[in-house]
Symmetry: C2
Subunit: 73 residues, 2 copies
DNA sequence: TTTTGTAATGACTTAAATGTCATTATTTAT
DNA sequence: ATAAATAATGACATTTAAGTCATTACAAAA
């Protein structure tokens, strides 16, 4: 059924991607919070099963669409 | 901040996409449940803010990756 | 070393996704 | 029209994402 391993891996990859995009824009976690209201710290540790809304909001904030975000998965 | 409108629209689009893929494979909601353990009914109504894990599991089940799923958004 | 800025984590609350099952539409076929 | 299959919804429990704030860890700079 839902492979826990594959899932953890996916969340890990998402977290790394988000961190990369944040750092590319030279933003702190606090910046992200001030601008979006999202606490990204726990997300970037890869332990949170983020919702589509949250991911969409972050992608929007980082100026990328969901499709290209998952392209580099 | 998080535009509720845009969000509802996104979730609506996701739900429609999922339904399209399910029907293309001629699967019932019960089939999906039996194979994945996921109750897709509420998701297909577009009122649920699905998690990445759930979406990933469904995409996997429908033989498509997340990137191409969001391409046709 | 000692600040200082930033990130990670703990504790807790709230809201909501997910799971489960029964019941009520709704669609499709006979 | 009736029956059968499928989907939607209601009600409820469980789990967990997300919000909030304080504290600890860590890194970079002074």
């Amino acid at each position: 059924m839902g492979s826990r391993l594959k899932n953890e891996k996916l969340l890990q990859q998402i977290s790394i991607q988000l961190k990369r995009h944040r750092e590319k824009k030279e933003l702190t976690q606090e910046d992200v919070y001030n601008d979006t209201g999202i606490h990204i710290s726990r997300i970037e540790t890869g332990k949170v099963n983020i919702t589509v809304s949250t991911l969409a909001a972050l992608c929007d904030y980082f100026d990328l669409n969901l499709s290209e975000f998952f392209e580099k998965l």
